[in-house]
Symmetry: C2
Subunit: 226 residues, 2 copies
């Protein structure tokens, strides 16, 4: 297809598509004449991936470029490639060095040992977790760190479901793409579900306690949607 | 304390503190002379909250302002205030109207009915979830939507742990602040844990399959950190 059709099908403006090609986020079309190129379903798929990471995942174009380069390198074994893909989408840099960060890193290492997780405490996700623990303590909510094990227990079945989904992919590019999409959009999905579960739990605990049964029974709440 | 000491204790520069006061993110200090004001531990606490939401939560100053105004309004019942606090930190706007969004909203309503959650499908978290489902399908990963129930089942104990933590707070401002901090930093915490659990699950599944036992046993992994 021509670039105009690719633009219509993907909803991405032509100048934006050209920009992504210049930035190395997607391969150029195949030249059919010096001024004309054709694009295929691989280009369309790549555009959808970029838009999803940009709009829903909130990644920067620079991070998306790194993710896409790690997808594209055929030298990497799958295991390393999956690691690189998730590393690039870890949102937090390690915090400032200091005793607070050292304590938090120790908490992470102890958690990994306690749960028997095969992961290094100093991998990007471990560093992100340590930075979150530092931020919780600095914000005066060190008590929240006590929820680590409850959270970790919930993360295990989620990660297994993710890997099970990823394992259904056949092609190598599809496999890594599904990890990237699953990590970024899956995080947004879990975040939204956790908030919905908060609304539910909060209505049960605070709604009835504070306003009698009005909030829970007076208004047509969840049953009205069914 | 004077503003200089508040700056030293919080690590926030004096001009930034003055900016937050002008923007209504924190109350002004108490004037002791026309050019001098004193600040107390409430100001220090508020500064920590702002920095945590900004740096770890990734919220904009505008969103933080809305959250803080919803915390501060003493007219609101706790139940409504908690809802307003979580609404303002929902990261996604509802997607573009259309049949895709309608289908996704129906998926959300069905999920709520299936799990018996007391929440409206059209609350901000429900709209965010619908937008995520649309993005997954657009990115060519509609199959990931099949993980909704596994994710929702994991979100339930997490939300109960959150509410349990929140329930320990005594003061009203503390209560809502803990919801805000817990929602934003708790999301970052779960995200990091999910990625660590991915590393673990991926090492078990792909590490051994592809490279023999080298990745899992040849290197000093998790046990070396304990």
């Amino acid at each position: 297809m021509r670039i105009g059709e690719l633009s219509r099908r993907s909803g991405v403006p032509v100048p934006t598509i050209k920009f992504y090609v210049r930035e190395g986020l997607m391969p150029a079309g195949q030249l059919t004449s010096p001024n004309q190129a054709t694009y295929d379903s691989g280009h369309e798929r790549r555009l959808k991936l970029i838009r999803a990471l940009l709009e829903v995942g909130g990644l920067s174009l620079a991070s998306i470029g790194e993710v896409i380069r790690s997808i594209g390198d055929p030298e990497q074994p799958v295991h390393k490639m999956l690691g690189a893909a998730t590393d690039w989408i870890a949102p937090l840099e390690g915090g400032e060095a200091g005793p607070e960060l050292e304590d938090a890193r120790e908490d992470v290492a102890e958690l990994l040992a306690r749960r028997g997780w095969k992961a290094d405490a100093d991998c990007p996700a471990g560093e992100t977790l340590a930075a979150v623990l530092v931020a919780l303590r600095r914000a005066g909510h060190g008590g929240f760190v006590g929820l680590l094990d409850a959270y970790a227990a919930a993360a295990e079945p989620v990660a297994r479901a993710d890997l099970d989904y990823v394992g259904r992919m056949v092609a190598r590019e599809e496999l890594v793409e599904s990890v990237v999409v699953g990590t970024v959009l899956g995080e947004a999905m879990f975040g939204a579900l956790r908030r919905l579960a908060h609304v539910d739990a909060s209505a049960r605990v605070y709604g009835e306690g504070e306003e009698g049964a009005a909030g829970a029974m007076g208004e047509p709440a969840a049953p009205g949607n069914a």
